[in-house]
Symmetry: C2
Subunit: 666 residues, 2 copies
């Protein structure tokens, strides 16, 4: 708190000629204490204290409700509050009222476009999870419906996605090797159920920030690795290999591929696969070059499927070893309630796998939602999204779906096709329903190779070389996390890569809190502003006074480091001064602005520094301690230890006061 | 970097009347770009870039060598370097050369004092580890010798300590229930060996910062809990109970005590125990009140032992159920090399237990060393201390010692008794040797109850109510960690409490990185300085411009939070403005000083903010980005996105530029 009487610039400052002008305010001398002529201009006092209960309320609010979800409820009558509450749960009630025909036109076109993209993708992704093709379609029918009612993103396209599919497939297969067994399917359904439960619980408890603990860099690496792994798996279908390794690491897969080169590759399959892969990639390229042709890559997969199916049907090349889909079960999602395992080892495994799948699905889905929400400037409540996705996956697990989330490729198409609301998801889901009811028999002669081509052309998007390059340029440590996760996925397995990603993310956080940066500050010529002398090479040091900035909160994890680092700055500076026979150091000013908080270990470190410096005739001064810090410095009596007159509002003032007290005879 | 041409205060600023005086420097107009009349005074450019290899070198140095251990080697000839290196390994070579008789006098007195304190404590502590009494004495003989040669603390007193003893006892007993078996003893020795190896390796690899991850608060709680647990264990000896629970939690122990009340308590034992406990506590009180009488509590334990032994010997009360020490094996430490287990389950268990014991022993020992080093202002290299303690424990494990470290109570006595160097440890260790060789038979009639009294009066020091109170006052979350660790130890077990302490310490770090503080800034009247309006209530906001400070680095773990929080500040302010029908917000200035670093997620959040604000006609301006931040903003092209003219050296300048561009008709 600035004491009103003291809150006046000191007229003495004018002599220095680099001070704040004070022409528009009174220049009455500030009140002096104990005849001390060098009292600082501002007294940095203790800020007004909060009551414990208020402090606690604020802490809870900032931790769990940082986005202030109850903002709109404020000062509303009770019925209005209830209405808003229900609308909060089911956003469709809010936007539904203002839904117009012109909006529907946009949604219809977008919905049809993503439907044409999702049907072949779904069939392929189901294979990644080692499931029959219809399960992919099931998962694109019910969950998008649920999301349309509860979700608040207008652009996301819901359904199975490649990374979650392969993750779920790998994790479940680790537990139950026989992918055709009933237990395998039961575990998939159980995991989906618990993934939904976890997502909903995280949303309700507002623990959404948990997904923020996966760093962007490690996600980039993980996704790229997953894309490579998924692409490698497609070689089986693309080359028509019959016996293939169950492992997903690149070495096992390549061995499998080369091992089959002489007797296992099928040239007809390769021909179809590679031809359509080139077709799809060309379509993608066209869509990228010309934004208005976004529909070209969007419909290309369906066209490829139709063409390839026709070719196989007409040439009967399935008789020559080209593998075909053969059979997709016709009809709407069957109930899967009886498949849920609520006891035994399947339960334990389901909970574990569900947790991992839940987090990855949320990480992908919410990142996508946020990206598009920022583009259109609407607010997306991460926690509400989690609840919506949780409910949609629980509902899915009761109706033979596996874990779904927002798909990156389809959401982008949805956005480009001009979707206006979640209605496009409904349109897509109706098209999928019709597919399930009517046209699944037509997929009989669809060659598996074309599905492989579609998956490869879809997952290529997940390899974000530009992002990786940007990470390299901005932070080498981040790049290490990115490469680590990538290598983990490609050379070992998806879950191993994920583990590396999480470990490196945490490691980075911990390293950063343990080893904060520090800097020597100098005065920028012609001002009273002090800045890092490495960043501003023309900033100059002041004889006899060392100004140090600590770029971090002072906690137990770094208090010892900071103490040693400050001592080293002082020692280094002392050496230089001795060399040049300059004035001895008499003051150490610590710029506290970046020290946003301090704990007992941090205060202890300051006390130790003060003790050491007193023995060396070096006075410690603090500049601009923040609210939390000054509060704790007062309550721990450290302010009394060093004296309140040594705490300043700015570095400039601290240096002025110190330089007036410099002794020149030492 | 400040471009020299631009680094001039803008003469226009004078109109505002709160600017930096520029009377002593030229007032030539700064160079304008694109005819923009509002160019800021300083261009904050990209700082000089470091080469990757240099950046890497600096990172390694700050992470592993923050205290610059090779400082003294700089610019020295090679033989000198070797000499310094050897001296660094064995500090005795350095201080030994200047060792004088007067110093020895101090060390002799201190050594004799701590010896008289350590002998009864050692016998008692051995019991905490479920070992025969002589093992405590063994551990006070060899390790202090080794430490005297390699350690750099002058005040620490080495030997067995209560917390490590009970921790080791509990952990080993969890694995091998029969404390009299050979395997139990082998596991103790093996764990000691690996504890030493871990300590030495941590020291050599300079991973000493690992022990900083236990927060001060949770250590206070853990130590207090351990003291209570140890005290409770002493009830067995103090009350003369024969059958006692093996568990250490307070509920099991109290049940055991009450269960034995009718047939298990021995009144003679209680009489002796309680009488001497009162005697010891009185002695402690006297020593505390009068610093010069420090020797009273230091010699009280030995006097108690002598008196109590005499009483029992004369009254033969051991015939009436008073348990006595009975037998301490005479003679010097036997070799225990053959006991080391280098294979099988004992090896695995030994590694695990050794790791935990190593960290706790280091935490206690190094904290003590640092405390006294600060009092006498000498430098203590934590990593070198770890190496010394590691070697001393490895040596100990070969000679029948168990894990030793610096003892808090004995180090304090050592310091107060006027020790001058580690020679006091040598004196103590010689006295212990003489005890082992000559007088162990005299301990035959020492009642166990007196050992319990000595332990209780020693561990009482570990309950630091003042520290806990300070923690409560400074940080409620810290206090929670403190209480959590305490409850974990007292109500469950020592290792459980330790786990809670570690988990809460990490949890606190993570919470703090996820939910950084933010603040609205206002102008302090009569200056151009902007500060938190909650801390400085007379700071005032500026119409149309919102100034926000983010108190943390922007990383993946908090980038989303920061983005949402800034949007909330803007929304909140927008509401207030609407209420008061004031000018619409047109500028958002973000004070970047505390943002010490940024990663790709953080830059992404800024980009999203910029996108959103552009839609709302709100201009984003950044003030004082630090070296690392501006570097990354440049390399990620974010500077180009918002325009370099929107990056300012100070908030004051940002606000001036913005206020001149305010549109008053909106």
């Amino acid at each position: 708190m600035v004491h009103p009487v003291d809150a006046q610039p000191d007229p003495d400052q004018r002599r220095d000629g680099h001070d704040h002008e004070d022409s528009d305010i009174g220049s009455a001398p500030s009140s002096r204490k104990n005849g001390d002529d060098f009292a600082p201009v501002y007294r940095v006092g203790a800020p007004p204290r909060l009551k414990l209960i208020n402090e606690f309320k604020i802490a809870i609010k900032e931790t769990l409700f940082p986005d202030d979800p109850f903002r709109q409820f404020k000062d509303q009558p009770r019925p209005q509050k209830i209405r808003l509450g229900v609308e909060g749960m089911f956003p469709i009630l809010e936007w539904g009222r203002t839904y117009t025909l012109s909006k529907f036109k946009g949604d219809l076109i977008a919905g049809l476009t993503i439907a044409s993209l999702c049907i072949p993708q779904d069939i392929g992704y189901a294979k990644l999870a080692n499931l029959d093709p219809q399960y992919g379609l099931y998962s694109s029918f019910l969950p998008p419906f649920v999301y349309a009612v509860m979700g608040s993103s207008r652009d996301i396209a819901i359904g199975p996605v490649a990374v979650v599919s392969i993750l779920l497939g790998t994790l479940v297969r680790n537990e139950i090797d026989d992918i055709k067994s009933a237990d395998y399917h039961r575990l998939i359904i159980t995991s989906t159920f618990f993934a939904g439960v976890f997502q909903a619980v995280l949303g309700i408890c507002r623990f959404g920030f948990l997904i923020d603990f996966l760093s962007h860099a490690s996600i980039v690496g993980f996704m790229a690795g997953a894309a490579i792994t998924i692409g490698l798996q497609q070689l089986k279908l693309l080359l028509g290999i019959q016996t293939f390794t169950k492992k997903t690491d690149i070495i096992s897969v390549m061995k499998s591929v080369w091992g089959a080169v002489h007797h296992g590759w099928n040239w007809q399959t390769i021909l179809i696969g590679v031809f359509f892969l080139i077709f799809l990639l060309t379509a993608k390229y066209i869509g990228k070059k010309n934004r208005r042709l976004f529909w070209v890559p969007a419909v290309a997969p369906l066209i490829s499927v139709i063409l390839a199916t026709l070719i196989v049907y007409l040439s009967r090349s399935d008789k020559h070893g080209v593998q075909i889909v053969n059979h997709i079960k016709k009809g709407i999602n069957p109930s899967s309630i009886s498949q849920l395992a609520f006891s035994g080892t399947l339960l334990v495994k389901g909970v574990k796998i569900g947790f991992v799948a839940a987090l990855i699905a949320l990480t992908e889905g919410i990142a996508i939602g946020r990206t598009f929400a920022a583009l259109k400037d609407y607010h997306l409540d991460g926690n509400k999204e989690m609840l919506a996705m949780g409910v949609m996956n629980v509902a899915g697990s009761l109706t033979s779906c596996y874990v779904t989330t927002g798909s990156f490729s389809r959401s982008a198409v949805n956005y480009n096709a001009g979707c206006r609301s979640a209605v496009s998801n409904v349109v897509m889901s109706i098209v999928v329903l019709l597919t399930l009811l009517v046209i699944t028999p037509l997929f009989k002669y669809t060659p598996n190779a074309i599905l492989a081509s579609i998956i490869i052309s879809a997952v290529i998007n997940l390899i974000d070389i530009k992002a990786a390059h940007l990470i390299w340029k901005t932070d080498k440590l981040d790049f290490l996390a990115c490469v680590g996760a990538f290598i983990g996925v490609v050379f070992k397995s998806v879950e191993y890569g994920l583990l590396i990603a999480v470990a490196l993310s945490f490691g980075k956080i911990l390293l950063q809190v343990t080893r904060p940066r520090t800097a020597l500050l100098g005065r920028i010529p012609g001002t009273n502003i002090f800045r890092n002398i490495e960043q501003y090479p023309d900033a100059s040091k002041i004889h006899g006074i060392l100004v140090v900035r600590i770029d971090s909160a002072m906690y137990f994890s770094n208090a010892n480091y900071i103490r040693e680092r400050i001592l080293r700055w002082v020692d280094d500076e002392g050496d230089k001064i001795q060399e040049k026979a300059q004035m001895k150091l008499q003051f150490l000013v610590v710029e506290m602005s970046p020290i946003i908080d301090i704990d007992t270990s941090g205060i202890h470190a300051l006390e130790e520094l003060h003790t050491v410096f007193q023995k060396r005739d070096l006075q410690l001064a603090l500049a601009n301690p923040g609210r939390a810090v000054i509060d704790k410095l007062f309550s721990s009596k450290f302010v009394d230890t060093i004296g309140q007159e040594w705490i300043f509002l700015t570095v400039g003032e601290a240096v002025q006061t110190c330089s007036r007290r410099l002794k020149f005879d030492v």
